[in-house]
């Protein structure tokens, strides 16, 4: 049941990301709902399903982005695996800790993607816009994560356990 909830959340997130979210840009920076959904799964699901779910989140994003050759699929898997590993050493049940983790992950994700776009796709992005996307994108994702994770947590408690 819970897995299906996450799949439904992923499809809705994907549709929102490619349609309406363009109107909700903050300083011309768009929210990455795929990343937020994937990281939420990393916090709530067990390790095996979380990595698989994150892979599908990344794959879904890669399908819609031009020329990324699957970098999002690999990155999302990597972030979820790191969070899983981190959860063994740290207590990440606290919302503040989660928020910090999300911010750092989003920041790293944006940096890797930015470097990839600049180096591999050979796009010259002005430094101001580059930094704005990296920093504001991470902040925006962190703020929205608070809302999304609350919704997922509510659904999570409501859903039947299946793992």
């Amino acid at each position: 049941m819970k897995r299906y909830i996450f799949i439904a959340v992923l499809i809705v997130s994907g549709l929102l990301q490619i349609t309406i979210l363009d109107d909700l840009k903050v300083f011309n920076v768009k929210l990455d709902l795929f990343l937020v959904t994937a990281l939420s799964a990393a916090f709530f699901m067990n390790a095996r399903y979380a990595v698989l779910f994150c892979f599908f989140c990344g794959l879904f994003k890669d399908i819609f982005v031009y020329g990324t050759i699957g970098i999002n699929s690999i990155l999302f898997c990597l972030w979820s695996a790191i969070i899983m590993r981190l959860s063994r050493h740290l207590t990440i049940d606290n919302n503040y800790v989660r928020t910090v983790i999300i911010f750092i992950t989003a920041l790293l994700n944006n940096i890797v993607l930015g470097v990839f776009v600049t180096v591999y796709l050979d796009k010259t992005v002005p430094i101001g816009i580059f930094l704005r996307i990296i920093i504001l994108g991470a902040l925006y994702s962190t703020v929205i994560f608070g809302i999304i994770s609350s919704i997922i947590f509510l659904i999570w408690r409501w859903g039947k356990p299946d793992d």
């Binding site: 549709l15 490619i18 920076v29 709902l33 982005v65 690999i74 002005p126």
Partner: protein, 257 residues
């Protein structure tokens, strides 16, 4: 000396293989995914438009009143333009100029946008079946919007002019000064490679030069907002506001001929 051990090699091979597999898998999955999500995406876009209309009711009302006034003014100007156009046609015939043929366009609807911040693309609801091919320019009634970079059977992808991956050969309409217009991922474009002493002023109109066979000559790109010197001091650049509002485009016209 750095040496690869077997243990280090395995993750590297897995990592490389994943990239290879994914780069093959993703283009195959693209078409069925787009087709599957075409209708839901259109529903989301319609819902979003309705919600926006509701939220921005007052702004739309004021804008509507202003536009009504502008329409009256433009009608008058259009009448005068038509007169000039007829006169121009007549004079061209007199001078035996080669008449430039009108474009054949395919109207398309935008069904999706790029989900990330690092590219500026839109997905359109028509593809090869409708005569759309890679490399064809996409315009709106206002001016140039982008270029088709991927054409599947029933859907295509258009790279918008504010993407840094798209360069358009352009000229300043007033002085015929040539340059290359490149996107910045932001709200503005940059016209590069202008000579140091280029005669470029704020509000100058920038159009396609026609030097590149991809874009027909004379398509409106935008207006100059500011002019600056390159860091090297050897050339200058102009910041351009695109004529087309790229954030809100819902329909496009793809020039197929």
């Amino acid at each position: 000396m750095f040496r690869f051990r077997k243990r280090q090699l395995i993750p590297a091979i897995i990592f490389g293989l994943s990239f290879v597999i994914l780069s093959i898998l993703i283009p195959i999955l693209r078409t069925p995914f787009f087709l599957l999500l075409k209708q839901p995406a259109l529903i989301f876009i319609s819902a979003g438009r309705e919600i926006k209309g509701f939220i921005f009711y007052h702004r739309n009302y004021v804008q509507n009143e202003l536009l009504k006034k502008e329409v009256g003014f433009l009608k008058d100007r259009l009448l005068k333009q038509e007169e000039i156009s007829i006169e121009n046609k007549r004079l061209k015939q007199l001078l035996s100029f080669k008449q430039s043929s009108n474009f054949r366009v395919v109207p398309v609807r935008v069904i999706g946008r790029s989900p990330d911040n690092w590219s500026s693309t839109v997905i359109i609801d028509k593809g090869r079946y409708h005569g759309i091919k890679e490399g064809m320019p996409a315009i709106t009634y206002v001016g140039l919007a982008g270029r088709v970079i991927e054409a599947d059977e029933y859907v295509s992808r258009v790279l918008l002019i504010n993407d840094p991956g798209l360069g358009v050969s352009a000229i300043i309409q007033r002085t015929r000064q040539e340059g290359l217009v490149i996107g910045t991922l932001g709200n503005y474009l940059i016209m590069k490679y202008l000579p140091e002493d280029a005669d470029v002023k704020v509000q100058d109109v920038v159009i396609t030069s026609g030097l590149n066979a991809t874009y027909p000559k004379g398509l409106l790109i935008g207006h100059v907002v500011s002019v600056g010197q390159e860091f090297s001091g050897l050339s200058c650049y102009a910041v351009i506001r695109p004529a087309v509002n790229l954030a809100t485009i819902e329909e496009l016209l793809v020039i197929v001929q």
